[in-house]
Amino acid sequence: MTLRVLYFARLRERFGVAEESLAFGGTTAADLIAELRARGGVWAEELAAGRAFRVAVNQDIVAFDAALPDGAEVAIFPPVTGG
């Protein structure tokens, strides 16, 4: 399936990318994270187990075991700090 993946704030800056289109062979948000982590470098570092980040699917925050629908807009970002 194809996903549109967005990065925000510190992750956007460290990855050097705000948005990408991704051919994805997995099922869940956790699968996607594992795939991105496998890129190594800053990806492995920022998405390491124990680092705090959030995943939203179609603009709702989801648990990491959530299934990703085809064509989903997936966003990965640090804990929010507005207000």
């Binding site: 704030a9 939203a56 970002f77 640090p78 804990p79 700090t81 207000g83």
Partner: protein
């Protein structure tokens, strides 16, 4: 109900006045304004820049306001959150809640702020004398939001 995400400065007083204008049924109007401070985590802050996730931001704010309206009898709610670069002293966020009685207005206003702080996709970056830094999320904000979880 009014929810706005905007670059422009807002006028908290004008927003509050607009909520009660022409109405005689509101007994209580609680509000909160969050402002950019010149000091955070022990170092000077020259400016902050607020990034957000367009689309999700409005959706998340609407969900928080809806949850508040389901918990308390609210007559009107205004939420305005700014994005972009702000200077110390600039207002960042306004939450104003109109209700019949003060207890509900205070509770709903604080609830919306606590949930906004942990659920709305905004991120702050600070300019300090030592360079720029992303603000880290605070455990105290998670704790504040957790107070509202019903048993």
């Amino acid at each position: 109900m009014k929810i706005r995400v905007q670059n422009e400065r807002f006028d908290a007083g004008a927003e509050m006045a607009a909520m009660s204008q022409g109405r005689t049924d509101i007994g209580a109007l609680a509000s909160f304004v969050g402002l950019a401070r010149d000091l955070n985590e022990g170092s000077g802050v020259q400016a902050i820049t607020l990034e957000h996730y367009p689309g999700m931001t409005e959706k998340a704010l609407a969900a928080v306001v809806e949850e508040a309206a389901a918990r308390w009898a609210l007559l009107d709610v205004t939420v305005i959150h700014r994005i972009g670069r702000l200077l110390p002293g600039d207002p960042i966020v306004l939450v104003a809640v109109a209700s019949l009685h003060r207890g509900e207005a205070f509770a709903a206003c604080e609830f919306i702020m606590d949930y906004l702080k942990t659920r709305a996709p905004f991120w702050k970056k600070e300019e300090t004398p030592a360079g720029t830094r992303w603000v880290e999320a605070r455990a105290s904000d998670d704790a504040a939001a957790a107070r509202w979880i019903k048993p």
